[in-house]
Protein backbone atom coordinates (compact mmCIF):
# COMPACT_ATOMS: atom_id res chain seq x y z
CA UNK A 1 0.00 0.00 0.00
CA UNK A 2 1.91 2.96 1.25
CA UNK A 3 5.19 1.66 -0.10
CA UNK A 4 4.27 2.90 -3.59
CA UNK A 5 5.26 6.45 -2.67
CA UNK A 6 8.72 5.56 -1.59
CA UNK A 7 11.05 7.30 -3.94
CA UNK A 8 9.77 9.82 -6.36
CA UNK A 9 12.29 11.52 -8.51
CA UNK A 10 11.38 14.50 -10.66
CA UNK A 11 10.53 12.21 -13.60
CA UNK A 12 8.02 10.25 -11.57
CA UNK A 13 6.54 13.44 -10.18
CA UNK A 14 6.27 14.83 -13.70
CA UNK A 15 4.44 11.71 -14.88
CA UNK A 16 2.00 11.87 -12.00
CA UNK A 17 1.28 15.46 -12.86
CA UNK A 18 0.75 14.73 -16.53
CA UNK A 19 -1.91 12.25 -15.50
CA UNK A 20 -3.53 14.90 -13.34
CA UNK A 21 -4.53 17.36 -16.02
CA UNK A 22 -4.68 15.90 -19.46
CA UNK A 23 -6.28 18.96 -21.02
CA UNK A 24 -3.25 21.01 -20.12
CA UNK A 25 -1.07 18.42 -21.80
CA UNK A 26 -3.30 18.58 -24.87
CA UNK A 27 -2.95 22.34 -25.11
CA UNK A 28 0.80 22.19 -24.57
CA UNK A 29 1.51 19.37 -27.01
CA UNK A 30 -0.73 20.67 -29.77
CA UNK A 31 0.62 24.24 -29.75
CA UNK A 32 4.13 22.91 -29.59
CA UNK A 33 3.41 20.51 -32.45
CA UNK A 34 2.30 23.39 -34.67
CA UNK A 35 5.39 25.42 -33.78
CA UNK A 36 7.71 22.50 -34.38
CA UNK A 37 5.97 21.59 -37.64
CA UNK A 38 6.59 25.08 -38.98
CA UNK A 39 10.18 24.85 -37.85
CA UNK A 40 10.50 21.39 -39.38
CA UNK A 41 9.08 22.36 -42.76
CA UNK A 42 11.46 25.26 -42.81
CA UNK A 43 14.45 23.07 -41.94
CA UNK A 44 13.47 20.44 -44.51
CA UNK A 45 13.10 23.02 -47.26
CA UNK A 46 16.43 24.64 -46.38
CA UNK A 47 18.11 21.27 -46.34
CA UNK A 48 16.61 20.13 -49.64
CA UNK A 49 17.32 23.39 -51.45
CA UNK A 50 20.86 23.30 -50.18
CA UNK A 51 21.25 19.74 -51.43
CA UNK A 52 19.82 20.65 -54.82
CA UNK A 53 22.09 23.65 -55.16
CA UNK A 54 25.20 21.75 -54.15
CA UNK A 55 24.28 19.08 -56.68
CA UNK A 56 24.25 21.86 -59.26
CA UNK A 57 27.51 23.34 -58.05
CA UNK A 58 29.33 20.05 -57.99
CA UNK A 59 28.02 19.09 -61.42
CA UNK A 60 30.16 19.32 -64.57
CA UNK A 61 31.70 22.73 -64.71
CA UNK A 62 32.66 22.57 -68.37
CA UNK A 63 31.13 20.84 -71.36
CA UNK A 64 33.08 20.27 -74.53
CA UNK A 65 30.82 20.02 -77.58
CA UNK A 66 32.37 17.46 -79.93
CA UNK A 67 32.26 17.03 -83.65
CA UNK A 68 29.64 14.43 -84.57
CA UNK A 69 32.16 12.63 -86.69
CA UNK A 70 34.31 11.77 -83.69
CA UNK A 71 34.19 8.10 -82.82
CA UNK A 72 33.57 6.99 -79.22
CA UNK A 73 37.09 5.54 -78.87
CA UNK A 74 38.64 8.79 -80.11
CA UNK A 75 36.57 10.65 -77.49
CA UNK A 76 37.81 8.19 -74.87
CA UNK A 77 41.39 8.95 -75.86
CA UNK A 78 40.74 12.68 -75.58
CA UNK A 79 39.15 12.25 -72.18
CA UNK A 80 42.04 10.13 -70.89
CA UNK A 81 44.45 12.80 -72.06
CA UNK A 82 42.47 15.62 -70.42
CA UNK A 83 42.16 13.86 -67.07
CA UNK A 84 45.95 13.82 -66.82
CA UNK A 85 45.90 17.63 -66.65
CA UNK A 86 46.10 18.83 -63.04
CA UNK A 87 43.16 21.23 -63.47
CA UNK A 88 40.75 18.47 -64.42
CA UNK A 89 39.44 15.93 -61.98
CA UNK A 90 37.13 13.94 -64.19
CA UNK A 91 35.75 13.63 -67.66
CA UNK A 92 32.72 11.75 -68.94
CA UNK A 93 31.68 11.12 -72.49
CA UNK A 94 27.99 11.72 -73.13
CA UNK A 95 26.96 10.36 -76.51
CA UNK A 96 24.18 12.12 -78.42
CA UNK A 97 21.79 9.21 -77.85
CA UNK A 98 22.40 9.33 -74.14
CA UNK A 99 21.94 13.11 -74.20
CA UNK A 100 18.56 12.71 -75.90
CA UNK A 101 17.50 10.07 -73.39
CA UNK A 102 18.48 12.38 -70.55
CA UNK A 103 16.52 15.23 -72.08
CA UNK A 104 13.54 12.96 -72.46
CA UNK A 105 13.76 12.12 -68.78
CA UNK A 106 13.93 15.76 -67.85
CA UNK A 107 10.80 16.50 -69.85
CA UNK A 108 8.97 13.93 -67.78
CA UNK A 109 5.32 13.68 -68.79
CA UNK A 110 5.99 15.93 -71.78
CA UNK A 111 8.55 13.57 -73.28
CA UNK A 112 6.24 12.79 -76.18
CA UNK A 113 7.11 16.22 -77.58
CA UNK A 114 10.32 14.58 -78.81
CA UNK A 115 8.52 11.79 -80.66
CA UNK A 116 8.11 13.92 -83.76
CA UNK A 117 11.83 14.55 -84.15
CA UNK A 118 13.19 12.90 -87.23
CA UNK A 119 16.77 12.86 -86.08
CA UNK A 120 18.66 13.65 -82.92
CA UNK A 121 19.62 17.35 -82.84
CA UNK A 122 21.98 16.93 -79.90
CA UNK A 123 25.76 16.67 -80.27
CA UNK A 124 28.23 14.32 -78.62
CA UNK A 125 29.80 15.95 -75.62
CA UNK A 126 32.48 15.53 -73.00
CA UNK A 127 31.55 16.72 -69.51
CA UNK A 128 34.50 17.86 -67.41
CA UNK A 129 34.66 18.28 -63.67
CA UNK A 130 37.40 20.64 -62.54
CA UNK A 131 39.66 19.94 -59.60
CA UNK A 132 38.30 21.87 -56.61
CA UNK A 133 41.07 24.45 -56.38
CA UNK A 134 40.99 25.23 -60.11
CA UNK A 135 38.91 27.72 -62.04
CA UNK A 136 37.81 27.62 -65.65
CA UNK A 137 40.26 30.34 -66.63
CA UNK A 138 40.34 31.86 -70.09
CA UNK A 139 43.65 30.08 -70.82
CA UNK A 140 42.15 26.72 -69.89
CA UNK A 141 39.09 27.38 -72.05
CA UNK A 142 41.30 28.39 -74.96
CA UNK A 143 43.49 25.32 -74.46
CA UNK A 144 40.49 23.01 -74.44
CA UNK A 145 38.98 24.73 -77.46
CA UNK A 146 42.11 23.96 -79.46
CA UNK A 147 41.90 20.20 -78.93
CA UNK A 148 41.13 18.19 -82.03
CA UNK A 149 37.42 17.44 -82.44
CA UNK A 150 36.25 20.09 -79.98
CA UNK A 151 33.78 22.47 -81.57
CA UNK A 152 32.87 24.59 -78.60
CA UNK A 153 33.61 24.95 -74.89
CA UNK A 154 30.43 25.63 -72.91
CA UNK A 155 30.89 26.97 -69.44
CA UNK A 156 28.26 27.92 -66.90
CA UNK A 157 30.98 29.47 -64.75
CA UNK A 158 29.69 33.08 -64.41
CA UNK A 159 26.20 31.84 -63.71
CA UNK A 160 27.35 29.30 -61.12
CA UNK A 161 29.47 31.95 -59.47
CA UNK A 162 26.45 34.11 -59.03
CA UNK A 163 24.48 31.15 -57.70
CA UNK A 164 27.21 30.32 -55.23
CA UNK A 165 27.31 33.91 -53.95
CA UNK A 166 23.53 33.94 -53.68
CA UNK A 167 23.56 30.69 -51.71
CA UNK A 168 26.13 32.08 -49.28
CA UNK A 169 24.12 35.19 -48.53
CA UNK A 170 20.86 33.23 -48.47
CA UNK A 171 22.53 30.95 -45.95
CA UNK A 172 22.99 33.81 -43.49
CA UNK A 173 19.40 34.88 -43.95
CA UNK A 174 18.20 31.29 -43.54
CA UNK A 175 20.16 30.93 -40.34
CA UNK A 176 18.75 34.16 -38.93
CA UNK A 177 15.22 33.11 -39.83
CA UNK A 178 15.82 29.67 -38.35
CA UNK A 179 16.99 31.18 -35.06
CA UNK A 180 13.94 33.40 -35.04
CA UNK A 181 11.70 30.38 -35.49
CA UNK A 182 13.52 28.53 -32.72
CA UNK A 183 13.06 31.53 -30.46
CA UNK A 184 9.36 31.29 -31.25
CA UNK A 185 9.34 27.63 -30.21
CA UNK A 186 11.07 28.53 -26.93
CA UNK A 187 8.46 31.20 -26.25
CA UNK A 188 5.66 28.73 -26.93
CA UNK A 189 7.20 26.31 -24.43
CA UNK A 190 7.74 29.01 -21.82
CA UNK A 191 4.13 30.12 -22.13
CA UNK A 192 2.74 26.63 -21.69
CA UNK A 193 5.06 26.11 -18.73
CA UNK A 194 3.83 29.38 -17.27
CA UNK A 195 0.28 28.14 -17.71
CA UNK A 196 1.16 24.92 -15.98
CA UNK A 197 2.86 26.79 -13.12
CA UNK A 198 -0.28 28.86 -12.77
CA UNK A 199 -2.51 25.80 -12.64
CA UNK A 200 -0.32 24.25 -9.93
CA UNK A 201 0.19 27.36 -7.90
CA UNK A 202 -1.42 25.96 -4.80
CA UNK A 203 0.78 22.88 -4.87
CA UNK A 204 3.83 25.06 -5.34
CA UNK A 205 2.84 27.25 -2.42
CA UNK A 206 2.58 24.18 -0.24
CA UNK A 207 5.93 22.90 -1.38
CA UNK A 208 7.56 26.24 -0.65
CA UNK A 209 5.91 26.26 2.76
CA UNK A 210 7.40 22.93 3.78
CA UNK A 211 10.83 23.93 2.50
CA UNK A 212 11.12 22.75 -1.09
CA UNK A 213 14.06 24.31 -2.89
CA UNK A 214 13.48 26.14 -6.17
CA UNK A 215 15.22 23.29 -7.97
CA UNK A 216 12.93 20.68 -6.42
CA UNK A 217 9.92 22.63 -7.64
CA UNK A 218 11.39 23.46 -11.04
CA UNK A 219 12.67 20.02 -12.08
CA UNK A 220 9.30 18.35 -12.78
CA UNK A 221 8.32 21.31 -14.96
CA UNK A 222 11.49 20.88 -17.01
CA UNK A 223 10.97 17.13 -17.33
CA UNK A 224 7.37 17.73 -18.30
CA UNK A 225 8.31 20.34 -20.91
CA UNK A 226 10.89 17.98 -22.41
CA UNK A 227 8.44 15.07 -22.54
CA UNK A 228 5.87 17.31 -24.21
CA UNK A 229 8.61 18.43 -26.60
CA UNK A 230 9.45 14.88 -27.62
CA UNK A 231 5.78 14.02 -28.15
CA UNK A 232 5.27 17.20 -30.18
CA UNK A 233 8.42 16.55 -32.22
CA UNK A 234 7.16 13.10 -33.20
CA UNK A 235 3.71 14.45 -34.09
CA UNK A 236 5.23 17.31 -36.07
CA UNK A 237 7.45 14.87 -37.98
CA UNK A 238 4.42 12.81 -38.89
CA UNK A 239 2.56 15.93 -40.05
CA UNK A 240 5.44 17.08 -42.22
CA UNK A 241 5.87 13.62 -43.67
CA UNK A 242 2.19 13.52 -44.63
CA UNK A 243 2.32 17.03 -46.05
CA UNK A 244 5.37 16.27 -48.18
CA UNK A 245 3.91 12.99 -49.37
CA UNK A 246 0.86 14.89 -50.59
CA UNK A 247 2.82 17.67 -52.25
CA UNK A 248 5.17 15.32 -54.02
CA UNK A 249 2.35 13.27 -55.53
CA UNK A 250 2.46 14.67 -59.12
CA UNK A 251 5.72 12.94 -59.81
CA UNK A 252 7.59 15.60 -61.72
CA UNK A 253 7.34 18.97 -63.36
CA UNK A 254 8.68 19.80 -66.84
CA UNK A 255 12.30 20.64 -67.54
CA UNK A 256 13.79 18.58 -64.78
CA UNK A 257 12.18 20.63 -62.04
CA UNK A 258 11.45 17.77 -59.77
CA UNK A 259 9.28 18.86 -56.87
CA UNK A 260 10.00 15.59 -55.16
CA UNK A 261 13.52 16.75 -54.51
CA UNK A 262 12.35 19.90 -52.76
CA UNK A 263 9.67 18.27 -50.65
CA UNK A 264 11.47 15.06 -49.83
CA UNK A 265 11.43 14.18 -46.15
CA UNK A 266 14.95 14.25 -44.68
CA UNK A 267 15.42 11.04 -42.70
CA UNK A 268 17.13 12.84 -39.83
CA UNK A 269 14.37 15.43 -39.42
CA UNK A 270 12.56 13.68 -36.51
CA UNK A 271 15.83 13.38 -34.61
CA UNK A 272 16.70 17.02 -35.23
CA UNK A 273 13.24 18.10 -34.11
CA UNK A 274 13.46 15.98 -30.97
CA UNK A 275 16.80 17.52 -30.06
CA UNK A 276 15.50 21.02 -30.73
CA UNK A 277 12.38 20.26 -28.69
CA UNK A 278 14.43 19.04 -25.74
CA UNK A 279 16.65 22.12 -25.84
CA UNK A 280 13.56 24.32 -26.17
CA UNK A 281 11.96 22.42 -23.28
CA UNK A 282 14.91 23.18 -21.02
CA UNK A 283 15.28 26.82 -22.01
CA UNK A 284 11.56 27.50 -22.22
CA UNK A 285 11.04 25.66 -18.95
CA UNK A 286 13.56 27.84 -17.16
CA UNK A 287 12.04 30.96 -18.69
CA UNK A 288 8.50 29.87 -17.94
CA UNK A 289 9.08 28.90 -14.34
CA UNK A 290 11.26 31.96 -13.99
CA UNK A 291 10.70 34.12 -11.00
CA UNK A 292 7.34 32.72 -9.98
CA UNK A 293 9.19 30.17 -7.87
CA UNK A 294 10.82 32.80 -5.75
CA UNK A 295 10.28 31.70 -2.20
CA UNK A 296 8.76 34.86 -0.82
CA UNK A 297 6.52 35.44 -3.80
CA UNK A 298 4.91 32.08 -3.41
CA UNK A 299 3.53 32.51 0.07
Amino acid sequence: MTSRVQSRGPVMRAFLRIKEDLWLQGVAVSTLTVALAIMGVYLALCFNLYQASSRLLSGPSLTLVLDNRIEPDEAAGLSAQLVRMPQIRGARFVGRDEALERFRGQLGPHANLLDDLRDNPLPNALELVLAPEHEATDELIALLGNQAGVIEVVTSRPWLHRLEAAITSAGDLALALGLLLFLGVILVVSNTVRLSVHVRREQLELMALVGASAGYMRRPFLVEAMLQGVAAALLASLLIWLLFAMLAAPASLPLGLNLEQVVSFPALLPLVLIILAIVAGLLGGFLGVGRTLRQRRLL
Partner: protein, 221 residues
Protein backbone atom coordinates in the same frame (compact mmCIF):
# COMPACT_ATOMS: atom_id res chain seq x y z
CA UNK B 1 14.32 30.32 20.09
CA UNK B 2 12.57 33.34 18.66
CA UNK B 3 13.74 36.90 19.04
CA UNK B 4 12.18 40.04 17.60
CA UNK B 5 14.04 43.31 17.99
CA UNK B 6 12.21 46.53 17.23
CA UNK B 7 10.22 44.92 14.44
CA UNK B 8 7.94 47.14 12.38
CA UNK B 9 6.03 45.85 9.38
CA UNK B 10 4.32 48.18 6.95
CA UNK B 11 2.43 46.79 3.97
CA UNK B 12 2.72 48.59 0.69
CA UNK B 13 -0.07 51.12 0.25
CA UNK B 14 -1.16 50.93 3.91
CA UNK B 15 -0.66 54.12 5.91
CA UNK B 16 -0.75 52.29 9.25
CA UNK B 17 1.91 49.71 10.18
CA UNK B 18 0.59 46.18 10.80
CA UNK B 19 3.24 45.69 13.51
CA UNK B 20 4.80 48.50 15.48
CA UNK B 21 8.17 48.23 17.24
CA UNK B 22 7.73 44.68 18.50
CA UNK B 23 10.30 43.31 20.97
CA UNK B 24 9.85 39.69 21.92
CA UNK B 25 11.87 36.78 23.22
CA UNK B 26 10.51 33.22 23.22
CA UNK B 27 12.84 30.66 24.80
CA UNK B 28 13.10 27.16 23.29
CA UNK B 29 10.28 24.76 24.16
CA UNK B 30 7.87 27.44 25.32
CA UNK B 31 4.17 27.42 24.42
CA UNK B 32 2.88 30.85 23.41
CA UNK B 33 -0.60 32.08 22.64
CA UNK B 34 -0.75 35.02 20.30
CA UNK B 35 -4.06 36.78 20.83
CA UNK B 36 -5.73 39.98 19.76
CA UNK B 37 -8.69 41.17 17.72
CA UNK B 38 -9.01 40.75 13.99
CA UNK B 39 -6.48 42.88 12.16
CA UNK B 40 -4.20 43.15 15.19
CA UNK B 41 -1.26 41.67 13.27
CA UNK B 42 -1.16 38.04 14.46
CA UNK B 43 -0.89 36.51 10.98
CA UNK B 44 1.65 39.14 10.00
CA UNK B 45 3.85 38.21 12.93
CA UNK B 46 3.72 34.51 12.04
CA UNK B 47 4.45 35.25 8.38
CA UNK B 48 7.55 37.14 9.43
CA UNK B 49 8.66 34.06 11.36
CA UNK B 50 8.49 31.69 8.40
CA UNK B 51 10.02 34.13 6.00
CA UNK B 52 6.93 34.90 3.94
CA UNK B 53 7.38 38.60 4.73
CA UNK B 54 10.38 40.74 5.55
CA UNK B 55 10.27 43.30 8.38
CA UNK B 56 10.24 46.93 7.28
CA UNK B 57 12.66 47.61 10.11
CA UNK B 58 14.08 45.69 13.04
CA UNK B 59 15.40 42.13 13.24
CA UNK B 60 13.63 38.78 13.23
CA UNK B 61 15.75 35.90 14.54
CA UNK B 62 14.68 32.26 14.46
CA UNK B 63 17.08 29.81 16.03
CA UNK B 64 19.85 32.36 15.72
CA UNK B 65 19.22 33.07 12.02
CA UNK B 66 18.49 36.67 11.08
CA UNK B 67 15.71 36.26 8.53
CA UNK B 68 16.25 39.73 7.11
CA UNK B 69 19.72 38.71 6.03
CA UNK B 70 18.92 35.20 4.90
CA UNK B 71 19.33 34.86 1.13
CA UNK B 72 16.14 33.47 -0.50
CA UNK B 73 17.86 30.28 -1.59
CA UNK B 74 18.57 29.45 2.07
CA UNK B 75 14.95 29.98 3.06
CA UNK B 76 13.97 26.34 2.32
CA UNK B 77 16.51 25.15 4.88
CA UNK B 78 14.89 27.34 7.54
CA UNK B 79 11.40 26.17 6.61
CA UNK B 80 12.40 22.53 6.97
CA UNK B 81 13.19 23.27 10.60
CA UNK B 82 9.73 24.65 11.34
CA UNK B 83 6.17 23.43 10.90
CA UNK B 84 3.25 25.64 9.94
CA UNK B 85 -0.45 24.92 10.43
CA UNK B 86 -3.25 27.10 9.03
CA UNK B 87 -6.93 27.55 9.70
CA UNK B 88 -7.81 26.20 6.24
CA UNK B 89 -5.59 23.07 6.46
CA UNK B 90 -3.94 23.60 3.03
CA UNK B 91 -3.66 19.99 1.96
CA UNK B 92 -3.42 18.50 -1.51
CA UNK B 93 -7.00 17.20 -1.59
CA UNK B 94 -6.53 14.64 -4.37
CA UNK B 95 -3.46 13.09 -2.84
CA UNK B 96 -3.56 10.53 -0.11
CA UNK B 97 -3.06 11.32 3.55
CA UNK B 98 0.26 9.50 3.36
CA UNK B 99 1.47 11.60 0.45
CA UNK B 100 0.44 14.84 2.09
CA UNK B 101 2.49 14.02 5.15
CA UNK B 102 5.38 12.61 3.10
CA UNK B 103 5.74 15.90 1.23
CA UNK B 104 7.50 17.70 4.07
CA UNK B 105 10.03 14.87 4.35
CA UNK B 106 10.47 14.35 0.63
CA UNK B 107 11.42 17.98 -0.06
CA UNK B 108 14.15 17.60 2.55
CA UNK B 109 15.57 14.56 0.77
CA UNK B 110 14.17 11.82 3.02
CA UNK B 111 13.41 8.74 0.93
CA UNK B 112 12.45 5.08 0.97
CA UNK B 113 12.24 3.20 4.24
CA UNK B 114 13.16 6.19 6.42
CA UNK B 115 10.36 8.21 4.82
CA UNK B 116 7.74 5.48 5.20
CA UNK B 117 8.74 4.80 8.78
CA UNK B 118 8.53 8.44 9.84
CA UNK B 119 5.22 9.10 8.03
CA UNK B 120 3.57 6.10 9.64
CA UNK B 121 4.96 7.18 12.99
CA UNK B 122 3.39 10.64 12.87
CA UNK B 123 0.17 9.29 11.38
CA UNK B 124 -0.11 6.98 14.38
CA UNK B 125 0.55 9.95 16.62
CA UNK B 126 -2.37 11.94 15.19
CA UNK B 127 -4.51 8.76 15.06
CA UNK B 128 -4.89 8.61 11.28
CA UNK B 129 -3.02 5.40 10.49
CA UNK B 130 -6.22 3.78 9.19
CA UNK B 131 -6.86 6.55 6.71
CA UNK B 132 -3.34 6.76 5.28
CA UNK B 133 -4.39 5.78 1.74
CA UNK B 134 -7.52 7.92 1.60
CA UNK B 135 -7.51 11.12 -0.49
CA UNK B 136 -7.03 13.94 2.02
CA UNK B 137 -9.92 15.96 0.55
CA UNK B 138 -12.45 13.32 1.57
CA UNK B 139 -11.67 13.57 5.31
CA UNK B 140 -13.63 15.59 7.88
CA UNK B 141 -12.34 19.00 8.96
CA UNK B 142 -10.88 17.68 12.19
CA UNK B 143 -9.14 14.85 10.38
CA UNK B 144 -7.78 17.18 7.74
CA UNK B 145 -6.31 19.43 10.38
CA UNK B 146 -4.64 16.41 11.93
CA UNK B 147 -3.11 15.58 8.55
CA UNK B 148 -1.81 19.14 8.36
CA UNK B 149 -0.44 18.80 11.85
CA UNK B 150 1.23 15.48 10.98
CA UNK B 151 2.82 17.14 7.94
CA UNK B 152 4.16 19.91 10.17
CA UNK B 153 5.44 17.45 12.78
CA UNK B 154 7.02 14.91 10.41
CA UNK B 155 10.44 16.59 10.06
CA UNK B 156 10.60 16.99 13.89
CA UNK B 157 10.73 20.79 13.73
CA UNK B 158 12.08 22.94 16.52
CA UNK B 159 9.34 25.51 16.03
CA UNK B 160 5.64 25.14 15.25
CA UNK B 161 3.57 28.07 14.06
CA UNK B 162 -0.21 27.66 14.04
CA UNK B 163 -2.50 30.39 12.69
CA UNK B 164 -6.03 29.89 14.05
CA UNK B 165 -5.61 26.10 13.84
CA UNK B 166 -9.02 25.52 15.41
CA UNK B 167 -10.87 28.27 13.57
CA UNK B 168 -12.77 25.87 11.32
CA UNK B 169 -13.35 23.15 13.89
CA UNK B 170 -16.09 22.24 16.38
CA UNK B 171 -15.14 22.34 20.10
CA UNK B 172 -14.33 18.63 20.35
CA UNK B 173 -11.99 18.67 17.38
CA UNK B 174 -10.52 21.97 18.52
CA UNK B 175 -9.70 20.40 21.86
CA UNK B 176 -8.12 17.40 20.18
CA UNK B 177 -5.90 19.59 18.00
CA UNK B 178 -4.83 21.77 20.91
CA UNK B 179 -3.85 18.68 22.93
CA UNK B 180 -1.71 17.55 20.00
CA UNK B 181 0.15 20.84 20.00
CA UNK B 182 1.73 20.36 23.41
CA UNK B 183 4.14 18.12 25.25
CA UNK B 184 5.35 14.85 23.83
CA UNK B 185 3.37 15.35 20.64
CA UNK B 186 5.60 18.16 19.46
CA UNK B 187 8.76 16.71 20.92
CA UNK B 188 9.74 19.76 22.91
CA UNK B 189 9.34 22.22 20.06
CA UNK B 190 8.57 25.87 20.62
CA UNK B 191 4.91 26.45 19.74
CA UNK B 192 3.20 29.68 18.73
CA UNK B 193 -0.59 29.56 18.35
CA UNK B 194 -2.40 32.62 17.02
CA UNK B 195 -6.06 32.78 17.99
CA UNK B 196 -8.76 35.24 18.83
CA UNK B 197 -10.73 32.60 20.70
CA UNK B 198 -10.23 33.23 24.45
CA UNK B 199 -11.74 29.87 25.43
CA UNK B 200 -8.63 28.13 24.06
CA UNK B 201 -6.34 29.89 26.48
CA UNK B 202 -7.26 27.73 29.47
CA UNK B 203 -6.38 24.53 27.59
CA UNK B 204 -2.65 24.75 27.98
CA UNK B 205 -1.35 25.18 31.50
CA UNK B 206 1.54 27.53 31.99
CA UNK B 207 1.33 28.96 28.50
CA UNK B 208 2.57 32.42 27.83
CA UNK B 209 0.02 34.80 26.32
CA UNK B 210 1.06 37.61 24.05
CA UNK B 211 -1.61 40.11 23.21
CA UNK B 212 -1.47 42.20 20.08
CA UNK B 213 -3.64 45.24 19.61
CA UNK B 214 -3.40 47.41 16.49
CA UNK B 215 0.11 46.13 15.90
CA UNK B 216 1.37 46.77 19.42
CA UNK B 217 2.37 44.09 21.86
CA UNK B 218 1.33 43.48 25.44
CA UNK B 219 2.70 40.45 27.23
CA UNK B 220 0.64 38.61 29.85
CA UNK B 221 1.06 35.33 31.58
Amino acid sequence: MIRLEGVTKKYLGRPDAALKDINLLVPPGEFVYLTGPSGAGKTTLLRLLFGAELPTSGRVLVGGTDLGRLPPRKLPLLRRRLGVVFQDFRLLPQQSVFENVALSLHVAGVRDAALVRRVLEVLAQVKLLEQSDVPAGTLSGGEQQRVALARALAPSPGLILADEPTGNLDPDNALMIMRMLVGDYVGGATVLVATHDPTLLSLVKGAKVIHLSSGRLEERS
